[in-house]
Every structure is written in structure tokens, then in C-alpha cells.
Amino acid sequence: MRDLQDLAAKLLTEKTVGLVIGWEAGPRGARPSFVTDPKDAGKLISDNRCVHNLAAYLSPRRPHLRGFGRIAVAVKGCDVRAVAGLLRETQLRREDVVLIGIRCGGVHDTPTGVGPLTADNLADRCVGCEVRDPARCDHVLGELPPSLPSRGGRRAARIAELEALDHAARFAFWREELSRCVRCNACRQVCPLCVCERCLADKTDPPWIESSPHPRANLAWHATRALHLAGRCVDCGECERACPAGIPLNLIGRKVAAVVERRFGYRTTDDPQVPAPIGAWKPEDGQEFIR
């Protein structure tokens, strides 16, 4: 924690960056922190409540974060995948950002989490994590904490349960879940990879996706979003965390990711040079749908 504060202060003092985005202790657990004055660097923290994927703030859709000059951002190994996604899709220039990698021993499923991690409070995505030591960063801080608590992958089991249902029952499950959606668009807004300047869902002439939160439009919206994030979703879980209706959006993202991996042999990676299936073609890609 101390080394993060020192580094942030140094980067700001030397004017390497104009803004450091990290985490701080807020009124309700950890929260994103924006430091422009080296004197404020002492409020930065890095602990197991630092759930937020701060790469979302690097998206070009946030005009109020422009004008600070170069930005330094604290990232966990998994967050680097989102940065890589932005770089891969030319939404961000590498030289405009300083990446402060934080070695990670897993995070709580909520920023208000308290105490050590257990199988019950560990974020789903941390199970089986392979990127606890962040790659491709300008600085990497902290000791590698002890291994994560292991559990059998509750989310994988949930997806398997849903797959075992017949079509009608599965549809009924999603109809029920999506019926709570009020189309606030929180899922889209917090997504580091939802980078469109004008989202399809905001277009009104013609209205490709109806804006009313009725079952037809909710299905259209969430299905469209799932497909637009196929091979792009980095499993940060921010959409599900932000959803005020408690819809398990992660299940959709993970299922689609599994399909992409099976069909295209691609998993989201922190290497921006590896093309995502949506922007690449390989002779061995399954082509049966255009035969």
C-alpha cells in the first residue's frame, strides 16, 4: 500500500502523469480514487476490497476525465485484460497511460467485504486466477500474496445447471431474471469494453432496440450486448455488480466466453497483440454458419 502511495506521489510530483486512478477507503468500503495532488496520494489503498476494474475510466466515453494529461491507473492482473482490450481496439494509446500493476491475492465479491477471503466471499472470477502477477505494466507493486482460497467454481456449476435445463425451462429462467431489468444501462456504463460513442440502444431513428423495459426489448438488449461482448468481455464482473436489479449478467458473459473459446480457440488475454476473433480470421475457424 505504501509503495503505491509513494509511486503515485512521485509520478505526480515529477509530472509524469496528471492524474492517478487508484482505490481509496470510502464511506462504503473501497472505491475508485482520483488523485491529482501528490499530497493526497496517502489515501490510496490496495487490499482485497479493491474489486473495481479501473480500466473502465480509460474508456473514451468519459470526457470529464480528459484534460488531465497522461493518466496512471492501478490495475490487478485481470484488469490488464481490459486495458489490452482498449489497446487492441485502438481506443487507447499505450503512451497515454502508466499502468501500475498490483499483485493480487483475490478480491471480495463486493467492495464492502470485510476480513480475509473465504470460499464464500471470494469474487467468482478469482477462482482459478492465472494472472495474480500482472503483466505488461510499467510498474508492478506488492508481494505476491498466498494462494487463493479454492472452491469448485460455483459459477461454472450454475452454468452447467442452466445448460442441463430444456430450452423452455432455460428461457423461463432468463425471462424471469430479465423481467427485473429497468434498462437503466448501468451494465453498459460500467463496462470497460462498452466503448461505442453512440450505443446501438441509444439510437432512435430507427430504434434498433426498443428502449421500453418490456420482455421483448430486454431480451433484445441483453442478447445484443452479449454478442457485442463475445470474445471481448474480460470477466471483471462490473456489469453484474452495478446492476440495481440483481440480474446475474455474469452467467451470460461466461457462457458466451466458453462458446468463443470452443469455436475460435480464443480466451481474452492481456496481450493486445493477440487479435480477438471479432477482428481476425483463421482458416481453421468453424465456418458452418456460412456454408
Partner: protein, 391 residues
């Protein structure tokens, strides 16, 4: 903590009396509450109450039986507003046959409803919204549902550090907007009958309600809850309003919303955010529906002009608007705050924006730089006439 001395003071409290007939007290035993719900359901009344929504959370939902109700537990994820202003609502349909265009009225069938265990902050919000919904135009769907609905509030114990009803002129046991207020006293509920609608519910099920027996313990519980919430935030909304009026261009706004994603979750869970969008949705070539849907000032498209100009260009401007609407504009127009201190926005925010924290900061700014006293009534030169004014 001198809770025993609270009672005489409360009897004169304006919030205790609400705006209806005031103050009759009855007693409702736990067993009788269950029977009351069974009677209501048996008569075809829709009963809505907080029910379990997993992970320790609750939601207001229609009850199939009393057993589902989780009274006095966690504040529901979303407020009561969706029972009066649904997230989407059909206003009318159209159909084209040849050259003829038919407009088909959507029948307004408002089911008789009792909302049981409403949180006082949610009940108060509904009453605050009556002002805007009945202002220059009377919103029939809103008032149709209002009239069909009886709100039985339950005095709250305070949820957590994000509650701040006491800082916005309410209390965990406020009666505003409620037809009945229940207060747990260990054996059952003391019942305050507040409005004719509340009276009708009690009279219609007279066998369930005993004579009021004021044990005093409900008052102890209520006073403790007030004290708990009051610790979270001390604020004077009038001072904040004056500061907002005088400081629209204050430099602090430039950095107010750095962590805000503009996601609108705050508006979705807010009991008083009521902005809506009206859309025409074709269904096939020859027919369609006009609907109104929840909207939020936190998105760019909310203020995007056809020219491409956006008068609220970024999140800082949108958060400034949110605070101004709640703590300056609505009070100017309607004489009350557009916030009941439920704290849901702070709990829901994925970026850690925190309204009680912001209000605390505004309070400090207002104290350090005394602003001119707010002008009485609407701002001079307002384009919109005041409620009840000349049209």
C-alpha cells in the same frame, strides 16, 4: 440517551400527524397481521411487501401469502415508485387501416392494493411526487394507482451508515405519505391511523385491530432509531439550497463526478427520481404503442439536442443537475425536497459516489461561505408558473 422523555415532543411533531386525520392509535398483534393479510388476499386485494431477494436483500413484491413477507428487514433494493410509475407503461395504442388511423385507449384498471411494511422514506417519496404529478397536468395513471393503494408503513430501525432521512426533514418513523404507520413494540405493532384511507382499512377489518395500548416500548425503539440515523449526517437543506442557488459555476463542480460512470443506477433505485421518456414503438407495419419509460438525467442522451449540442456535456454537469434538482429546483417549485434520505443511491453506486458525503461537503461549503438567503418561491423570471398559479 434520554429516550423516555421523547414522547410529548413527538406528539407535537408535524411529521407525526402527516397531512391526514391525525394520530389515532390502535394495536395489531402479530397473529392478527397475518390474518389481516389473508383477509385482504381473500378479497382479491393485491398485497405488496418486502420479500427475500437473496444475498440478504429484499424487494417489494406482490405477496401470494403472508409467509413471504420480510417485514422490518433490509431496505428493499428498489423503492415503491414502480408501483405508481412503472418502469414501462403503455399510454395508448394505434392502428392504421388504409387511410384511417385509430387511437385505442389503454384501459386503466388499477387494482386495489395494500403496500405493507413500506419504509417511511419510500412512503414519503410517493407523497413528494404527488406534487409534480398533479401540478399543471394531473397524471391520471399516477393518481389512479395512488387512489387504489393504501400504504401501511412500518417504522424503520435505520439500515446502515448511508441512511440520512433525519438530515432531510424526515425520520425513520416519519408518517408522511403513509395511511397507517406500524411501530413494532415487541408484542406486535402500535398502529397510527393517519388518513381516511387508513381509517377505512382499519374499520374494514375491525376484528384485527385492538384498542391502542401504548406500552412505551415502541417509542423507545423509535427514538433509538432516530438517534442512530441522525449520527450519519447533520445537514440543513435550506442552507444547501441557498448555496446551490448562488454557486452554479463554483469550481468544485469540475471535479464532483470523477468516479461517476453515468450509469443511472442511482436514479433507478431512487424513490423520488421520476423523469420519464415517451416513445412510440411500432409493432408490425400497421400498429404500435406509445409508452413511457423511466429515464435518467445521468445519461448523455437525456439532454442531447438534435443539433448535436449537449448542454450537459459531461458527468460533472449531470451530477450538478442531480443535486440541483433534488435540493434546489424541486424545493423552489414545490416547497419540498426531492430526497428522502433512503441512501439507496450510495448503496447502489458502482463507482462509490455517496450522496450523504456530498451533502456533508455542501453543508460545509454553505457554512464557510454564507450565501444569500434563498428567494421565496420560484426563482424570478421562471418560465414555469408555480403550482396552483395562473396558467
Amino acid at each position: 440517551m434520554s429516550v423516555g422523555k421523547e414522547k410529548p415532543q413527538m406528539a407535537t411533531d408535524e411529521h407525526r400527524l402527516g397531512e391526514g386525520v391525525g394520530g389515532t392509535t390502535r394495536f395489531l398483534a402479530r397473529g392478527d397481521l397475518e390474518k389481516l393479510v389473508a383477509e385482504l388476499l381473500g378479497a382479491g386485494t393485491r398485497v405488496v411487501a418486502p420479500v427475500d431477494a437473496g444475498k440478504g436483500e429484499t424487494e417489494y413484491r406482490r405477496l401470494a401469502s403472508f409467509a413471504e413477507a420480510k417485514l422490518g428487514a433490509a431496505l428493499p433494493r428498489r423503492s415503491l415508485k414502480e408501483f405508481f410509475l412503472p418502469p414501462t407503461e403503455e399510454l395508448f395504442r394505434w392502428r392504421r387501416e388504409g387511410e384511417a388511423l385509430q387511437l385505442l385507449e389503454t384501459p386503466a384498471a388499477h387494482v386495489a392494493t395494500v403496500i405493507l411494511g413500506a419504509f417511511p422514506c419510500d412512503a414519503a417519496a410517493v407523497q413528494a411526487l404527488d406534487k409534480v404529478m398533479g401540478w399543471d397536468y394531473r397524471d391520471d395513471p399516477w393518481f389512479g394507482r395512488r387512489e387504489a393503494t393504501t400504504i401501511v408503513a412500518l417504522a424503520c430501525n435505520g439500515q446502515d451508515g448511508s441512511c440520512f432521512c433525519t438530515a432531510v426533514g424526515l425520520r425513520p418513523d416519519a408518517v408522511r405519505g403513509a395511511d397507517l404507520l406500524l411501530a413494532a413494540n415487541g408484542e406486535g405493532y402500535e398502529v397510527q391511523v393517519l388518513t381516511p384511507k387508513g381509517r377505512a382499512l382499519v374499520d374494514g377489518h375491525a376484528a384485527r385491530f385492538g384498542a391502542g395500548r401504548d406500552t412505551g416500548s415502541a417509542n423507545v425503539i423509535r427514538a433509538a432509531a432516530r438517534e442512530r440515523v441522525a449520527k450519519n449526517l447533520q445537514a440543513t437543506p435550506e442552507k444547501i439550497r441557498g448555496w446551490l442557488q448562488a454557486n452554479f459555476e463554483h469550481p468544485m463542480w469540475k471535479g464532483i463526478a470523477l468516479r461517476c460512470h453515468g450509469c443511472g443506477a442511482c436514479a433507478a433505485v431512487c424513490p423520488t427520481c421520476h423523469c420519464f421518456d415517451i416513445v412510440d414503438e411500432p409493432e408490425g407495419l400497421y400498429e404500435g404503442a406509445r409508452r413511457r419509460n423511466w429515464d435518467t438525467c445521468q445519461t448523455p442522451v437525456f439532454t442531447l439536442h438534435a443539433s448535436g449540442h449537449n448542454p450537459r456535456p459531461d458527468q460533472n454537469a449531470r451530477i450538478r443537475q442531480r443535486l440541483n434538482h433534488k435540493f434546489r429546483i424541486y424545493p423552489e417549485r414545490f416547497g419540498e425536497l426531492l430526497c428522502t434520505g433512503c441512501g439507496r443511491c450510495a448503496r447502489a453506486c458502482p463507482g462509490g459516489m455517496d450522496l450523504p458525503e456530498l451533502l456533508g461537503a455542501l453543508e460545509k461549503l454553505a457554512a464557510s461561505a454564507p450565501a444569500p438567503a434563498p428567494a421565496p418561491g420560484p426563482a424570478a423570471g421562471a418560465l414555469i408558473p408555480p403550482p396552483g398559479g395562473a396558467r
